[in-house]
Symmetry: C2
Subunit: 457 residues, 2 copies
């Protein structure tokens, strides 16, 4: 990750230099865009439509194809140009039955959901004794081959964070736990959901098997079920489970990105990519992840363009197959990575308010950052000195050096809902969604019209 | 329901008479009981044990039988006397598969749970077009036979209330809706869950078919799913569903009450019944409904007895089969209704704090009410002038004229969880549970030791 540029912007953030008033007073057109965007209805309409009329849209499935058709029609009706699907193919993991039952000593069912790429049990399920690890580190410390024939159960102590950083730390249990358990001989692994709620809604999510590791059945218990199982284990008697996690893998299934544009007047200035993802996990309707993100970027591009013709093209990338490995983002980069890109941005962290802006800009672009900061301040958004990093849909662009601005959303309640059946429209607060649109509209307006030279290629 | 006695108590509540200070200063033994009970650990231990080691315990099932065995052992270990099971038999409805899928125009699954006594669909399910009614009154207004071949969907606008009164009003959709829909020719009925949350956790519950009505498949959609279906209907195209609700009815299954006592010194003074129910719905572990109630009454009886021998016997009634129609309460009354009962009380409204006390006492027992009010006031509990009504486990006793005191619990979040998979231990706040124990201990102490003559028979 590129180092944050030092100099005047950092000093400005620290308040150690005086700021010309012209930089803090947003131009009236930005103010108009911001105020107008705060009354936006497109983002909610988009999110309501996608989640109601398509609903769940797992990567590489017919539902995702319906989402592409839906989005193409919607974006055309909203007036976007060059609306198209850019197809690719991919392997697809499909959930089957997810069932768990404590056989002894306290017979009862547990609620869980298989993780992406889980191996399937036989139809009749498997039995095994539970071996409990309070943390991933405890699992890592177990001797090699010590878990032969066992069902591993790993917990953790994730709590909510505004910046979502606890997902990075505790999500390792989902990302790495299955491969570690398999290497040590386990016949299956259950993890406490990577979530911060206390509802019986398991948090699924993808995990990739490490090279050479044999896939085993892998699932997340809902948080209350994980606590229940931990209480049983704590009583000291052997706990035996019956586990049925049927799933299947399909090769070469169709997926694709939906791309739409608001053309700018200066093609050589590079496009501004505003990304989200169209696919969702299979159990919810993908409202906060990431229907809202697609609603935000589409609405904000339209709001930004209300100020008149833009210098740069805003390109809406509604990526496919983000949840299972970022296939859509890679396909976009493979097709377009060598074209001029001025900036890449992504909205994929729910629908709660933007609270902070992070930058990764070329050297000597502090003036642009200052204009964006000034435009966002009336929305209650502060600036950080942390480098922007983008998200998985724009990761290949970011790695190639395209500048990034991150409009960081409040993640305090994001992991209550993330990847669960509970990811539904009712979780979206319309006023916070509108604040997102306003923040994005301001940023896109400033970036698309920036007189500075930006980007790569 | 007996009219509330007027006179001095009512005047006291209105503050219109002066109160002898001796009545407001609780005796030191009550204060000791209250303070000690606020540190109670028995109620949480009981609730944790029952919900973990037995888990779900539907009426008339082997799991309920395990709950009786568990409770007998626990109550004996706590030092109760005359601990026994009083068996009876009953018909049992058993849930099968609960599945719903929108066939058109927006194919996707919906989350729902069959209601108690629902008819079963064939294994392969049924198809039908949805007819939507925003309220039960709208369904009632539909012409006879107008719903032939249709799947009825009824919504409502229930919101949380502290006293739970919205359940009475809006619960009619669950209690009466299925019979009304069947009479008008519907092939199935779906209702919006009688709940105040927005999670994908359907609220089940019992409903009884009216005389002569043909049972049809009947289920509750989770609140987000009900809102999703309403949005689909609002788009104006016919909405078709595929519905699979398999269930079965069994005759003459064993159930029973668990009864335990703390013997008092004066058998002729009548027993004080402290009731709860041991059964739960099948999807959760019955923590707030009603494991906590059983923990509260057991713990409180022990706390009340810490003050020394009691005049009256406290009888703990852990009723079976409350959820499906109050079978346990009736069986208790059939066996014991003619024995002397001084008072009946019940804890069956979750584990949140007691906020109000209601009375239904014989005439001229204001002094007892005043002692109870004084003992509860330091716990933040106010007195009402509403008549106490008890709950279904003591309903036959109350109808027979046994006096009642209701320690009303805060129901603001009760119907977020009630009858859902989410009814699990983590929903219980230990401090509020302890406040319940303290309130109950104070009331039981005052009632069991009251020098007044109380009760019937």
């Amino acid at each position: 990750m590129q180092k944050i540029r030092s100099g005047t912007l950092a000093a400005l953030l620290l308040g150690s230099i005086s700021t010309p008033s012209s930089l803090l007073a947003a131009p009236s057109s930005v103010e108009t865009i911001r105020v107008t965007a705060l009354a936006d209805t497109v983002a909610m309409d988009f999110t309501e439509g996608l989640t109601t009329e398509v609903g769940p849209r797992p990567a590489g499935t017919p539902q995702e194809a319906r989402a592409r058709d839906w989005a193409v029609a919607k974006l055309k009706s909203l007036g976007f140009s060059n609306v198209r699907v850019e197809p690719y193919t991919m392997p697809v993991w499909l959930r089957g039955r997810d069932e768990a039952r404590v056989i002894s000593p306290f017979p009862q069912n547990l609620v869980l959901a298989a993780l992406g790429n889980s191996a399937s049990t036989p139809e009749k399920g498997i039995d095994g004794e539970v071996v409990y690890f309070p943390t991933l580190a405890d699992l890592e410390a177990a001797p090699e081959a010590s878990l032969k024939g066992k069902i591993v159960f790993v917990s953790h102590a994730m709590h909510a964070t505004q910046d979502g950083s606890s997902y990075g730390t505790f999500g390792a249990t989902r990302r790495q736990g299955p491969s570690i358990a398999s290497k040590k001989g386990a016949i299956a692994i259950l993890i406490r959901s990577i979530g911060t709620d206390n509802h019986r809604q398991p948090h699924t999510g993808v995990q990739m098997w490490a090279d050479g590791v044999k896939p085993i059945p892998a699932a997340a218990l809902s948080v209350p079920d994980a606590e229940q199982l931990a209480r049983m284990v704590a009583r000291g008697q052997p706990v035996r489970l019956h586990l049925t996690l049927t799933s299947k893998m399909l090769k070469d299934q169709p997926s694709g990105n939906v791309v739409a544009e608001i053309p700018g007047g200066d093609p050589k200035a590079g496009v501004v990519v505003a990304a989200c993802h169209l696919d969702s996990w299979d159990q919810g309707t993908g409202a906060i992840d990431d229907g809202a993100g697609c609603g935000i970027v589409a609405a904000a591009a339209l709001q930004a363009a209300k100020g008149g013709p833009l210098r740069r093209t805003i390109l809406i990338l509604m990526a496919g197959a983000e949840e299972v490995g970022g296939n859509g983002g890679r396909a976009y980069y493979d097709a377009h990575g060598r074209e001029p890109h001025a900036m890449a941005m992504e909205s994929d962290f729910g629908a709660d308010r933007v609270w902070r802006v992070d930058f990764k800009l070329p050297q000597n672009h502090d003036a642009l950052a200052r204009r964006i900061i000034a435009g966002l301040a009336p929305l209650g958004i502060g600036a950080s000195r942390l480098p922007a990093g983008g998200g998985s849909d724009i990761e290949p662009l970011v790695k190639a050096g395209v500048p990034v601005v991150d409009l960081q959303q409040d993640g305090t309640r994001y992991f209550d809902i993330h990847h669960t059946p509970d990811d539904t429209l009712d979780k979206i607060d319309p006023a916070q969604l509108q604040q997102n649109v306003a923040a994005w509209a301001v940023a896109l307006f400033e970036i698309a019209n920036a007189p500075e030279s930006l980007g790569v290629n």
